[in-house]
């Protein structure tokens, strides 16, 4: 199971408490994790990435194992610790605004 940590507003939107667990078929990448997240929680579609282009929204960041994956290619494999569920994949709302 892949663990995904969500920011506060996406937790309330999805009706979850901080972290969700997902089954991801095949390679564990940025794309496959967010794909699985959107299938399980359709209310999050469009809030993390664009519906059509799948471009990450500007004020959203992807972190894992103390690394910033926000600018990596969507098919970049995520660390083994994320694939094994030892570490969460973190979706973060960037610090901006008020």
């Amino acid at each position: 199971m892949i663990r995904v940590a969500l920011p506060f507003h996406l937790c309330t939107l999805a009706g979850v408490d901080g972290e969700v667990s997902l089954d991801v078929a095949g390679p564990v990448t940025l794309r496959s994790v967010v794909d699985a997240l959107e299938v399980r929680y359709p209310m999050l579609r469009g809030t993390i990435r664009d519906h059509v282009t799948h471009a990450r929204r500007p004020f959203v960041r992807y972190f894992a194992c103390r690394r910033d994956f926000s600018h990596d290619a969507l098919d970049t494999p995520l660390p083994d610790e994320v694939a094994s569920g030892t570490e969460p994949f973190q979706i973060v709302g960037a610090i901006a605004g008020g």
């Binding site: 507003h9 939107l13 299938v39 579609r45 469009g46 809030t47 929204r57 960037a94 901006a96 605004g97």
Partner: protein, 459 residues
């Protein structure tokens, strides 16, 4: 039933307060919405508790318990304020969608418990929420959980927050650019929904005005949205440019007598009208003037802040322009200034009294540089003659040290009799008047900045 003289008879369970004069030449006229506050007008005299049927006969109505619901959108969530028809004591429910900007919330005229909400965030984008029970519970219409995000051929599934511009106009040319602040052409980019306008007769049909300016329509209760691309595609799109608040399509007005006619307003492009349900559109800005537009004959470019219409007179429109209050009596073909004796004719909202089509309300703001009321006094101005002659309404509103603004979507009327008027401020107050504006009181004082107010009268 008609009398032998051909006059209308009043069918009333109790006629004790009707005089013989009412029974002569009794010709019922305008009626407000069904239910709360219903009345008939006979010989110019309003008769609460009576209503006219389609044949022109006047009937007594059963006493009804009615209430008013205010849908208040703020910078940090939505609030639902409810009261009985006295409109003296209010219940405050919220925040709904706490922490999100609620640009607009509006109920369906066809089903008042069907609500639609535009919920937005600079981080997470656009959400459209829907309620079927007057705001007790909410849902995001769209693809169910557990189903793929794309169709078998790879196209993204429809979602309530998916607003994708049509990139091909009627002439086949891409609708790709508008004028940016620096005068260069800039691609259209969806940012948020400013205005949701449920159709008059179908609760599943809703129009959405968005930034960058375009109009979308759903006919499935918000699951999927399609652009009415004839608006951007009619030819002047490359001349549209954003105002200080962005290039939003912020106002949608439906013609109650012609389902195919809509009016919209864009900052800063102006008013447009369709007579064919949104396929084709024409700019309707003749007669407007702006010191920011040196060409007096320019077709678009006006920073229209709001337009309003009384449903019984769909050819008469009232407008709060950036500067100037204006009116049109030919469905927008021509406009004339009716600012008259206003202390400032800069402002944002404009509304029409529910039962008096020539009674209108504005909230003057000092200037485009100073977005607060003249003299630190929050005054609503009322004209009972459709403009030019205005009276300040001050009783119950702060008359010193007040420097709040009232945004374009933050003023509304109910349909009770007497008519209720409501406004929300950038300081978080919501004020209401249950007597057409003569007396005001604060319903709630400490909400976040109010972005929108919509009133519903409920049976």
């Amino acid at each position: 039933m008609r009398s032998e003289q051909g006059q209308h008879l009043l069918h009333a369970r109790s006629r004790e307060h009707l005089t013989p004069a009412h029974l002569r030449h009794s010709i019922p006229s305008i009626l407000p919405a069904r239910g709360a506050g219903m009345f008939a007008r006979v010989d110019g005299i309003r008769l609460p508790g009576y209503a006219a049927d389609a044949a022109g006969l006047v009937h007594a109505q059963e006493p009804e318990m009615s209430k008013v619901r205010l849908l208040v959108g703020t910078k940090k969530g939505a609030f639902i304020l409810t009261s009985d028809s006295d409109r003296k004591r209010w219940n405050v429910d919220g925040p709904h969608f706490a922490g999100w900007e609620i640009y607009h919330a509006k109920g369906s005229p066809a089903d008042p418990d069907r609500l639609y909400v535009s919920q937005t965030s600079g981080w997470f984008g656009q959400i459209v929420q829907r309620s079927r029970d007057g705001g007790k519970t909410w849902e995001q219409p769209g693809t169910p959980a557990g189903t793929p995000t794309t169709t078998p051929d790879g196209m993204p599934m429809g979602e309530s927050n998916k607003f994708v511009y049509n990139i091909s106009g009627p002439d086949g040319k891409p609708l790709t650019t508008h004028q940016f602040y620096d005068g260069t052409q800039h691609p259209w980019e969806f940012k948020r929904v400013w205005h949701l306008e449920p159709a008059l007769t179908d609760p599943d049909t809703v129009y959405a005005g968005v930034e960058d300016a375009a109009i979308f329509k759903t006919t499935d209760g918000g699951k999927t949205w399609n652009e009415l691309a004839g608006l951007r595609g009619h030819g002047t799109g490359p001349q549209w440019q954003p105002g200080a608040g962005g290039m939003g399509l912020h106002t949608i007005v439906q013609d109650a007598k012609d389902a195919k006619r809509l009016f919209i307003a864009i900052s800063a492009a102006g008013v447009f009208r369709t007579d064919d349900g949104g396929k084709t559109w024409s700019p309707k800005n003749r007669g407007l003037t702006s010191k920011y537009l040196p060409d007096p004959n320019v077709e678009v470019g006006f920073c229209v802040h709001r337009i309003a219409m009384h449903p019984s007179r769909p050819k008469t429109l009232f407008m709060q322009l950036h500067w100037h209050v204006c009116r049109s009596d030919d469905a927008g073909d021509t406009w004339r200034k009716v600012s008259g004796n206003l202390p400032s004719d800069f402002g944002f909202p404009i509304v029409v009294h529910a039962q008096e089509p020539e009674t209108i309300y504005v909230v003057p703001i000092l200037s485009d540089s100073l977005h607060y009321p003249p003299e630190g006094k929050l005054r609503v101005y009322r004209s009972r003659v459709g403009g030019n002659e205005w009276e300040p309404l001050t009783r119950g509103l702060p008359q010193s040290d007040c420097y709040v603004n009232v945004l374009r979507g933050a003023m509304s009327t109910d349909t009770l009799d007497p008519c209720g008027i409501y406004l929300g401020t950038t300081g978080g107050q919501v004020y209401g008047s249950a007597d057409g504006g003569d007396n005001w009181s604060a319903i709630v004082r400490d909400l976040p900045t109010v972005l929108s107010v919509e009133a519903q009268a409920l049976p």
